[in-house]
């Protein structure tokens, strides 16, 4: 066999087997081709046996040519085998016929109460704004719930709060706290400014239970006392708080109001988040929604707590958790929160 013949044969074999391998229909056909080409008596094996008869010079050309062909066919066989295996697996996977739209298996998972979720959102934002969590008793003496907060005995402001009175062995007259503001007097009598606290929790009013009133509800209080704290600081922090709660486009406005423990006092409205201020059912056509009460801490309250109002000033605000939750979660009846109907609880 001449070198030329050898080269021609290689070229023929390559063409023949590349085409056959590529056309092989299954793994058995691939195996047949492997035996036929690279097997002990395969076509290529037989052809390579001629190498030993070539001159040293010709071997230098024919050897690498033969080896290259062997490698190419081996590679082609492996690739084809892998392709066919993948195809077979794919076919098998595609034979699966599972109705994925069947209901989910109930993995036990509970939920926090909507009021807890709302309160957590509020305390998280206030934490970011630097407020520390503070607490006070829920069964509170009248001094801390009223007197120190500038709500004197025999004043209509005190009557307005529909107070529950507790019967205990204490010599003090105790009430169920009517607001979270008792934490203000509790905290300020023990700490000097700077003070920056939040006080979430339950409060109690002797109100009948109906769609908009509950004898138990939740408030969150904020208090900041330092040098030169003004209404403008209040507006800055409440703007940030409301943006955190309702979104970056939220706008707030102050309306004059009256609370015995703040002077000046402001009712805070946010631009209706449902209609963007155009007027809708939720904002009763006004474009604004009343959110909370606030103001500059009345200097008398600071004095009552042992803080000098000529040196320090502060602001305070108080907000209802139910009110926010009802608005944001589209709940129309406050009693919904206290019925604990699983069909409601599992939505949040």
């Amino acid at each position: 066999m001449t070198l030329q013949e050898f080269q021609n044969m290689c070229s023929e074999l390559e063409q023949e087997y590349t085409a056959k391998i590529s056309a092989a229909a299954d793994l058995a056909a691939v195996e047949e081709l492997r035996v036929a080409s690279l097997g002990r008596k395969g076509a290529l094996t037989e052809l390579l046996k001629n190498l030993k008869d070539f001159s040293i010079e010709d071997k230098k050309t024919a050897g690498p040519l033969g080896n290259a062909l062997k490698a190419a066919l081996t590679q082609a066989l492996e690739t084809k085998t892998a392709d066919l295996a993948a195809k077979a697996m794919n076919e098998e996977l595609n034979r699966v016929n599972l109705d994925l739209t069947l209901p989910a298996r109930p993995v036990p998972c509970g939920r926090r109460h909507p009021l807890s979720i709302a309160q957590k959102r509020m305390t998280d934002i206030l934490s970011k704004l630097g407020f520390t969590w503070a607490e006070g008793p829920w069964v509170e003496d009248e001094k801390h719930n009223f007197d120190m907060l500038n709500i004197p005995k025999h004043h209509p402001a005190r009557d307005a709060q529909d107070t529950f009175f507790a019967e205990t062995g204490s010599p003090l007259s105790l009430v169920l706290r009517t607001h979270t503001s008792n934490v203000q007097s509790r905290f300020m009598e023990k700490h000097q400014p700077p003070i920056r606290i939040m006080a979430p929790g339950r409060v109690f009013r002797n109100d009948s239970l109906d769609a908009t009133h509950s004898p138990v509800f939740h408030q969150i209080e904020g208090l900041y006392v330092d040098k030169n704290v003004s209404m403008a600081d209040l507006k800055r922090d409440l703007t940030a708080f409301m943006k955190g709660l309702l979104g970056d486009k939220t706008e707030i406005r102050f309306r004059p109001s009256f609370f015995p423990f703040t002077e000046p006092s402001a009712e805070v409205d946010v631009k209706c988040v449902f209609c963007g201020g155009k007027g809708c059912n939720i904002c009763k056509g006004t474009g604004w929604i009343e959110m909370l009460g606030s103001g500059v801490v009345n200097p008398q309250v600071l004095k009552n707590c042992g803080i000098d109002p000529e040196v320090y000033s502060g602001y305070a605000f108080g907000m209802g958790v139910e009110r926010l939750a009802m608005m944001m979660m589209n709940i129309n009846d406050i009693r919904t929160f206290y019925e604990n109907d699983l069909r409601i609880l599992n939505q949040f």
Binding site: F164, V216, L342
Partner: protein, 794 residues
């Protein structure tokens, strides 16, 4: 406080629509609860009848409507109302008619000329409902009738919510003064004749000057009681009062007008010629105008003569001296009574009136004589008679404190930059005396503004009258400080999040319960915080336990078809310790029904049992090394006597978990036969909790353990806890962990015995154990079990 717009205009010239005025009130911080529009504010609107309707050629919802105006005149207009129909009588406004501030001009609507419009109730200003549709009038009204004649004169009634610091706004004059300061318009006081009077008034003997700092009054003799003039009757009716007779009505009228409560006594019921103002005697009896009988204490302030009381001062007159139809001589009282005293008395006896509501907030001590003169004029006009001189006991003239401040302080409180000129303007409108001639300004409020006592009050006024929008959003300030949350708060959050992860739903319940529940849950009434003025029976105590409410939640949900429940609550519970209230953060839960209820899968029922609950408790409390679960020696009455464990922390019992007693379930109306429950207080756990401490990690084993099964036969009475205790106490040179894999009683095991099988895992941190080491350890454990518990290898 109800304010009638037309009445308000007696005191100030306003050119605002009711809506605009309501907006001003809001800006001033006076909340408007409602605005009720009355009467007609339009001209040139007449009754017409619809005779023909056809579709508008260029619109699918507009119509061309022909109307009969009477006297042979007709008119065609374009109308888009959905309710228009032939035969209706409707209000038609033609070109030139006025609707509020709008005058109608010719219009072309989609190519068709329209020289008039059929009006809706809102368009006529009669309502503010935003309802679409024309106003349909009664079919019996003659064509051409001026629609205005069907309604009264235009007016509006505002219902204002006056905060308790602003009693001066409880009158039309007061509201006018407020608007005057805002709009810079003059206040028009009613013209009074200032009659000096003839003859002496009754003398007034004020025996408690602190309770009654001013008392003015006069007699009017020879009056003829009559019906009030129409205007007074109308206005009182708008205030919500039934007009009675002129003598009574005028006192009320002046109160709503000027804010000064007044009282008229029938002179003939007053013995002698002295009015006595005094405190009541202990147990003094007094019958009010409304026939209620009071037994008073020494605090109540009384008006009367030398022998008896005729009025509970500032609150209500007595039955014995009221004005009658035939009253001829009256004594009119116009006084100032102490605010807290009036509040205290009014509250104590449960008597409240328009008068007491003004006195308890603080009336205007400077107004008594002017109001008396005003009332005198009205009395003389309506009832004739002759007024006496005025008696005015006012020993110490009241003046508000002088407030000293700088404009910088005002702006400092507000964070504003209101110009000095603006501040001067505002304060001068509000002040009795105002001086800004030196660096420090002085301000003194008139007597009707007792609420302006220091510069913070004045800052509020500055902001109100400059507009609250003048307050800017302050510049950023840094707040650098850190404090932990209260430990209880953090712990409740951790436990609650874990429970929610384990499938429990958080509940919130009202904090009250009744005596019956206290008993059922083993609490003594004397250790619970009682509410003096409970709002309902069964809500008399603050709850010392959360479980009764959670069981109610189970019952509630069962009735609504949910039987698979895992609920918890976290909040404070209340008990009395030596008479003093103790508040404890507590967490409790209940569990019943199936764990995974989805019938479609028809899998094995997964019902929770005691050991599931124990697993929940281990997940929740497992991290606390000082917490143990111990079988309850004496389970609480509401728990199963044998299926209940105590939760013990630092050697103190902090709660229990287990099965709820079937009787408790029955009492709660629960259908589920098994309810699992837990409750514990967290005070003890706070001691070993810190937000900063993390549990140190144990390195995971690098070398595989050698496993051996150990099967022993033991007395039935030996508990798992005893076995565990023995295994844990054996001193071994290698590490041991063990797992209970089988528990067996019956065949192949002798009577009274049980077989217990563990898989034991022996290991060392630095090597794989040799068989010999494992064998020795195994033998040591077996020996310990033999020795301590009489175990035999099976």
């Amino acid at each position: 406080m109800k304010i009638l717009y037309s009445w308000l205009k007696d005191f100030i010239d306003l050119d605002l629509t009711p809506e605009e005025l309501a907006q001003k009130f809001t800006e001033l911080g006076i909340e408007v609860a409602s605005v009720e529009k009355k009467g007609a504010d339009f001209e040139g609107v007449h009754v017409a009848q619809i005779t023909h309707i056809e579709d508008h050629p260029n619109s699918d919802h507009l119509h061309l409507v022909d109307l009969d105006l009477g006297e042979g005149k007709t008119q065609r207009v374009v109308c888009g109302a959905p309710n228009v129909a032939v035969g209706q009588k409707v209000p038609l406004a033609r070109v030139g008619a006025r609707l509020g501030k709008m005058v109608l001009t010719p219009a072309k609507i989609r190519g068709v000329a329209s020289e008039g419009m059929i009006c809706s109730s809102d368009e006529l200003g009669l309502t503010n409902t935003r309802a679409r549709g024309i106003l349909v009038l009664d079919e019996n009204i003659p064509l051409g009738t001026d629609v205005r004649s069907l309604y009264g004169k235009a007016d509006a009634l505002f219902d204002l919510e006056i905060t308790s610091n602003r009693p001066d706004l409880l009158s039309h004059l007061g509201v006018a003064r407020e608007l005057s300061a805002l709009l810079n318009l003059p206040v028009k006081m009613p013209a009074v004749q200032n009659i000096a009077g003839e003859g002496e008034s009754l003398k007034v003997d004020v025996r408690d000057g602190a309770a009654c700092p001013r008392y003015s009054g006069r007699l009017i003799r020879g009056v003829k009681n009559a019906e009030s003039p129409e205007l007074i009757k109308e206005r009182l009716a708008a205030m919500g009062l039934n007009p009675k007779n002129a003598l009574v009505d005028i006192t009320n009228y002046v109160m709503f007008e000027l804010g000064q409560p007044m009282h008229a006594f029938d002179r003939k019921e007053i013995e002698g010629d002295t009015i006595v103002v005094r405190r009541a005697e202990k147990d003094e009896k007094f019958t009010l105008l409304d026939e209620r009988e009071l037994t008073l204490d020494e605090n109540a302030l009384m008006i009367g003569d030398e022998t008896k009381a005729t009025a509970l001062a500032g609150i209500m007159g007595g039955k014995n001296s009221g004005i009658q139809e035939n009253t001829t001589d009256i004594f009119i009282e116009s006084a100032y009574f102490d605010a807290p005293l009036t509040n205290k008395t009014s509250k104590k006896y449960g008597v409240s009136s328009d008068s007491s509501q003004r006195f308890e907030r603080g009336a205007d001590i400077g107004m008594t004589v002017f109001a008396l003169q005003r009332a005198t004029d009205l009395f003389l006009q309506a009832c004739g008679g002759t007024a006496s001189q005025i008696c005015d006991v006012y020993p110490n003239a009241y003046a508000n404190p002088v407030v000293r401040f700088t404009p910088a302080q005002i702006n400092g409180i507000l964070g504003t930059a209101i110009e000095e000129e603006k501040l001067k303007d505002i304060f001068s409108r509000l002040a009795l005396n105002f001086d800004a001639s030196s660096a420090e300004w002085t301000f003194q409020a008139p007597t009707h503004r007792r609420d302006l006592n220091h510069r913070w009050d004045l800052a509020e006024e500055a902001a109100r009258f400059a507009g609250f929008d003048c307050i800017p959003t302050g510049a950023s300030r840094a707040f650098v400080s850190f404090n932990d949350n209260p430990k209880g708060v953090d712990l409740l959050e951790i436990f609650s999040d874990k429970l929610a992860g384990l499938g429990f739903f958080e509940c919130k319940n009202i904090d009250f319960l009744g005596e019956k529940e206290l008993h059922s849950f083993g609490f003594e009434v004397k250790n619970a915080v009682k509410i003096k003025n409970a709002m309902a029976k069964g809500w008399d105590y603050l709850r010392p336990t959360l479980l009764p409410a959670l069981l109610k939640n189970v019952e509630f949900n069962e009735r609504r078809g949910n039987h698979d429940l895992a609920l918890f609550e976290n909040t404070r519970t209340f008990t009395l310790t030596k008479g003093f209230p103790t508040e404890t953060y507590t967490i409790a839960g209940v569990l019943c029904g199936q764990l995974t209820a989805q019938p479609f899968f028809q899998g094995k029922e997964a019902k929770p049992d005691f050991f599931f609950l124990k697993g929940v408790m281990q997940n929740v409390l497992g991290e606390f090394e000082n917490v143990n679960f111990v079988p309850s020696e004496k389970a609480p009455v509401y728990m199963h006597p044998k299926i209940c464990m105590d939760i013990v922390a630092n050697g103190k019992k902090i709660g229990v978990f287990g099965a709820v007693h079937p009787l408790t379930l029955k009492e709660s109306g629960i259908k589920s036969a098994e309810v699992w429950a837990f409750e514990f207080g967290i005070k003890q756990l706070e001691k070993s909790f810190s937000a900063q401490s993390f549990k140190p990690a144990q390195a995971a084993a690098q070398f595989p353990p050698s496993l051996r099964d150990l099967s022993v036969i033991l007395d039935k009475a030996v508990s798992y806890a005893q076995i565990k205790d023995v295994l844990q106490k054996v001193q071994l040179p290698v590490n041991l962990s063990f797992n209970l894999i089988d528990l067996y009683e019956g065949e192949h095991v002798p009577q009274g015995k049980k077989s217990v099988t563990f898989t034991l895992a022996f290991s060392a941190p630095d090597r794989t154990l040799k068989d010999q080491e494992t064998d020795q350890a195994f033998q040591a454990l077996l020996e310990a079990l033999r020795h301590s518990l009489g175990a035999e290898l099976r």
